[in-house]
């Protein structure tokens, strides 16, 4: 079901991009710890936020920052647009390249005439993505852990950080699954990636609107980002099984649709 040679091919093909993404995420989380330890960022932000309307103040203080504590700011590092952008970009690019990207590059015809079945091709791509996204999440966690050690911030233990890593991984899997469903019917990797990014952006902003405006809060359960809350994971009651299950379900549904379409479609 899995072709080792194809897996190695994917490592060589995507390795540099994923390595850079992982390095940037590690660096970013490390820098968040550095910022938290080296400046009185909490006070500065609290002063800044006081000048904003009460609804926005409430949103920023509780939902995004988890309060202006050091713990809240480190948790915010995982909800920061940069952290979202790095992981989501990796998930979307992997999914868009898996089918539509290979079709666009024109190599799919030669590649799929090699001795592996479509199922092997598909599941090798999925396995590779799961491993890559898992490592990416771990790289981010490593950045936070390293930052805590280097800057003497004994804020979170290994357990909560690993649970955060798992939730982040599931979020990325959800984006991978959704984009893969489009990739399996698409012809152009760029267009599929564009759809994936639009969905992610839409979800991110819809979540923001739902949090800012109570009348629009009904849209929150319909956004993917609603099910990933670093603040709840690190500062609240911990990992919500419902949230994890929802992200997993989105990923599985997306991948199932993709497998079903890929099995039936003509290539290229």
């Amino acid at each position: 079901m899995i072709a080792a040679a194809l897996f190695r091919h994917l490592v060589r093909r995507q390795g540099a991009f994923l390595g850079v993404s992982a390095l940037l995420l590690t660096l970013f989380q490390f820098l968040i710890c550095a910022a938290v330890s080296s400046t009185n960022a909490g006070d500065a932000l609290e002063t800044l936020v006081r000048s904003l309307p009460p609804a926005v103040q409430n949103l920023i203080a509780t939902q995004f920052f988890g309060g202006f504590s050091e713990r809240g700011l480190v948790a915010f590092g995982w909800n920061h647009p940069v952290a979202h952008a790095l992981g989501t970009a990796a998930a979307i690019v992997l999914a868009s390249r898996a089918v539509a990207g290979e079709i666009e590059s024109g190599a799919v015809e030669l590649l799929l005439s090699q001795p592996f079945s479509r199922a092997t091709y598909f599941f090798t791509h999925v396995l590779f993505a799961l491993v890559a996204l898992g490592l990416l999440a771990l790289a981010g966690i490593a950045g936070t852990s390293l930052g805590q050690v280097v800057f003497h911030l004994p804020l979170f233990g290994g357990g909560p950080l690993l649970r955060l890593g798992l939730a982040y991984f599931l979020l990325l899997c959800a984006w991978f699954g959704l984009t893969l469903a489009f990739s399996s019917v698409g012809q152009e990797g760029g267009r599929v990636a564009g759809i994936g990014f639009l969905l992610a952006l839409g979800s991110f902003f819809a979540q923001g609107i739902g949090l800012l405006w109570s009348d629009a809060s009904f849209i929150l359960p319909w956004t993917v980002h609603h099910y990933f809350s670093p603040q709840t994971l690190l500062l609240g009651e911990g990992a919500s099984l419902r949230s994890c299950f929802t992200l997993l379900a989105v990923a599985v549904v997306g991948m199932t649709i993709a497998a079903w379409r890929f099995w039936r479609r003509d290539l290229p």
């Binding site: 190695r8 024109g106 799929l112 090699q114 079945s117 003509d266």
Partner: protein, 296 residues
């Protein structure tokens, strides 16, 4: 032994009926030319055989197995018509990459192929995106052939190759066929099919017009002979055996001849020939000959 058996293939893409009940077979140790104009359905057929496209109806068996099985692909060599390769890799890395997909069939023919196609260390060290179209095509042929496949599916294989490399390609293919390998060679160039193949399958608008030997096809072809002499033209040119049509004007004649050209040669041998052109037949001549047959 049958290397390939295709029965009643149908394929529709939206409103376009690409294949309409295509059937043919290919024996081991044989080269079958798959001849047709652009859009005839040649590439669609080859993609179905390679398992890339699903047929709406009909069956295709390669080396005794249904098309698309991984087991079959192990023994298959495939060259796409629109060859696109990973441009960022060096040619050497690309060959290694594709060889790694077939661990049970090592690239035993690679040295022989690199020599035949004049691909040197300099070419292999360069990134694929910097190679010329012809060199990329040669790389595609090496990828398709390096593991010594039992069945080769080649879509326009000499596309972009210079005449010297076309000859090298023909030699390599003849060599493999003499060892019992089977080749399906798709082309829209009649001379290529004539010079390489044992039999020819003629496809037009998704329909198989005929599957016959190259000799039979040659017999069937209507070729054009242009002639100019000093003095008077020999009498009775239009009535010679095989001449289907003649345009005679003064010292010049244009004759369309089917089959043997020797009666014309014997007739003009008595005259002092100033110009004699026996044009290579084109693909459209094949179809003209088929329609002529249909009308008669």
């Amino acid at each position: 032994m049958l290397a390939l058996e295709v029965v009643g293939l149908h394929k529709r893409f939206g409103s376009v009926q690409a294949l309409r009940g295509v059937s043919f077979a290919l024996e081991s140790g044989e080269i079958l030319g798959y001849l047709g104009p652009n859009g005839a359905g040649k590439t669609t057929t080859l993609r179905i055989l390679a398992g890339l496209v699903r047929a709406d109806a009909g069956t295709a068996r390669l080396l005794g197995e249904p098309a698309g099985q991984a087991r079959v692909r192990e023994r298959l060599g495939y060259l796409p018509g629109e060859l696109r390769l990973y441009g960022g890799l060096t040619a050497q890395a690309l060959l290694e990459r594709f060889a790694s997909f077939r661990p049970s069939r090592p690239p035993v023919l690679r040295p022989r192929l690199l020599e035949a196609f004049a691909l040197g260390a300099g070419d292999l060290a360069r990134r694929v995106k910097f190679l010329s179209h012809g060199t990329k095509q040669k790389l595609g042929l090496v990828i398709a052939l390096q593991h010594d496949p039992d069945l080769l599916l080649l879509d326009e294989p000499t596309n972009g190759l210079d005449p010297l490399m076309q000859r090298a390609f023909r030699e390599v293919v003849q060599e493999r066929v003499s060892l019992g390998r089977a080749v399906l060679l798709s082309s829209h160039v009649l001379s290529e099919v004539e010079s390489s193949c044992h039999r020819v399958a003629v496809l037009r608008a998704g329909e198989m017009l005929a599957v016959e030997t190259v000799a039979t096809l040659r017999e069937r072809l209507v070729r054009r002979v242009q002639l100019r002499v000093r003095g008077a033209l020999p009498a009775g040119l239009a009535g010679l055996p095989g001449v289907t049509q003649a345009e005679i004007s003064g010292r010049e004649a244009v004759l369309w001849v089917q089959g043997d050209v020797n009666p014309i040669l014997r007739a003009v041998a008595q005259a002092e020939v100033e110009r004699f052109v026996f044009a290579e037949p084109q693909l459209e001549d094949v179809f003209v000959s088929f329609y002529a047959g249909t009308r008669s």
